[in-house]
């Protein structure tokens, strides 16, 4: 069975291992002298880089700000869509659209909505605000877009989880006079908990690593208020050519993500029959 796995190993494992290794070098683009190992120097530099920590904090705020409301809304929606309602198909079909759209288009679309003059948001609210351009509203504004863009995936995944809820248990609980909330806490949630937590963890990780959406919406501005870690690392690597340093940033993100993944994988392995 090994031969068929070799292409995977070469194509997928090599770049990531190489990427982590680069974090311990002084690799730069367009430099003529050979790259050298510099140990933890990138990381000690990173420790003093206040701009990076600012972007890291922004990244965590963004990821939490998107994931938590998105998860709750998606759960509510999935419960709604799994029930017997008319027009459910319409909601299901529409819900897929943001998923199929290029992130760049989603960003452009919301720029049109947020546009200070020609945008529909100011016209609807009767305000006169540069939503993406002012320090106070930029991060909340991009978070709203993140929620919009990511809801389909989480909703569909949660809907799938809901299909595993045994219907008889639900009916039995209903006959026993349990209200909707009680049925949710005693029957539905315990049944979908492992899947739901996994979805939440993955969504958080994806959001932490996101790039295109915010790049198009604000490119990190105003004043760095929406500069996510990935935007920061991209600039460091491809504008200033600091490959080693940018790789070190990536490693810090991986370290955070690994903790989450460990929790996630532990949960999955426990829930598995093998």
């Amino acid at each position: 069975m090994l031969p068929v796995l070799i292409p995977i190993l070469v194509l997928s494992v090599t770049p990531l291992v190489y990427g982590i290794a680069l974090a311990f070098t002084d690799a730069q683009s367009g430099r003529t002298e050979p790259t050298e190992w510099i140990g933890l120097l990138n990381f000690t530099d990173l420790r003093q880089d206040t701009l990076f920590w600012e972007s890291f904090r922004t990244g965590l705020l963004w990821a939490a700000g998107v994931t938590v409301p998105q998860f709750l809304l998606s759960l509510g929606l999935a419960l709604l869509l799994s029930g017997r309602l008319r027009f459910r198909w319409l909601a299901r079909v529409l819900a897929i659209v943001p998923w199929a759209m290029p992130e760049v288009v989603v960003g452009i679309m919301w720029r049109l909505v947020y546009h200070p003059d020609a945008g529909i948001l100011n016209e609807t609210l009767g305000t006169d605000r540069d939503w993406l351009g002012s320090l106070g509203s930029a991060l909340p504004a991009v978070i709203l877009v993140g929620i919009w863009a990511g809801m389909p995936q989480t909703t569909v995944a949660l809907l799938a989880g809901l299909q595993n809820v045994p219907g008889e248990l639900h009916e039995a609980a209903a006959i026993d006079g349990a209200g909707a909330w009680r049925r949710f806490t005693t029957v539905t949630w315990p049944a979908i908990r492992p899947v739901a937590l996994a979805i939440g963890a993955l969504a958080f990780i994806w959001n932490l690593n996101s790039f295109a959406l915010v790049y198009v919406l604000t490119n990190g501005g105003p004043g760095g208020r929406t500069r996510l870690p990935m935007l920061f690392a991209y600039e460091e690597a491809f504008r200033y050519g600091q490959f080693g340093y940018a790789a070190a940033m990536g490693c810090v993100l991986v370290a955070v993500v690994s903790v989450l993944l460990a929790v996630f994988l532990a949960g999955r392995l426990k829930g598995r029959d093998t």
Binding site: A91, M101, M109, R111, L112, F211
Partner: protein, 304 residues
Amino acid sequence: MRAGPRTPGEARRRPATAPASRPPAGLVLRRRAGRTAQYLALLGYLVFLAFPLLWLVSTAFKPPRELATLHPEWIPDHPTWDNFRQAFDEQPLLRAAGNSLLAAGSAALIAVAVAVPAAYVLARHRNRLSRAATGWVVVSQAFPLVLLIIPLFLILKELRLIDSMAGLVLVYVTWSLPFALWMLTGYARALPPELEEAAAVDGAGRLRTLVSVTVPLLAPGIAATALFAFITAWNEFFFALVLLKSPEKQTMPVVLTHFLGAEGVADLGPLAAASLLATLPSLLLFAVIQRRITGGMLAGAVKH
């Protein structure tokens, strides 16, 4: 003014005498209120979902005068196709679409060709190696793209493949491989092994069985996986932004950002028009395979 006969609504109103078999009025009312709340929630979601989309469409069909106004309207007074024509004039959209088609198409085909045998093996053999591979797939989904692109950039530079379609395709294959593997393993596990055993009893070898029994049975799953890989590559932005420097090689999403201009001052009409056009292919394909994708993801998420 209507002063004549009673309105239909009034005529339909009945005295409130419920049949004896009905549940108590309080419960019915509560249930009806719950129903209404559900529909309102659904309606709220649909509005949240649809309003930016409708605004994009509206903007795409507005003449410049209606875009420059301080009080924009939902429905253009003088809808026009000019923005679409102008979009093609301003940026090389056809070429960009061709580049995207080439990159996404090749990447999808190669990724699936590599992933099918691997997925088959992972689905049929459960041991430490296959479990490690599955774990790796999950882990790789969580890696920040910088950690992938910097080494790939250096490798491609060695191979002189920076700013080339071949380099981009290679990166897309690397990037979509784990997920393709995941989806396909899910599909392969759903196949009954008895069919392969029967083929083996008939004297067919491993490879023969894979080609003549497993692949045909897997065909719908393979198609769905390939289309999904195509859509993600068609929509992809980060790698294309980093790798493609010359304008004539750039893909659709990168070209779209050129409409935004350096200062973020954009020609809104053509921008919206081009965005709509760029979305159509993935939207259509997604509609075709939507059920399969969600099914495949579930198979992956639930069974692994």
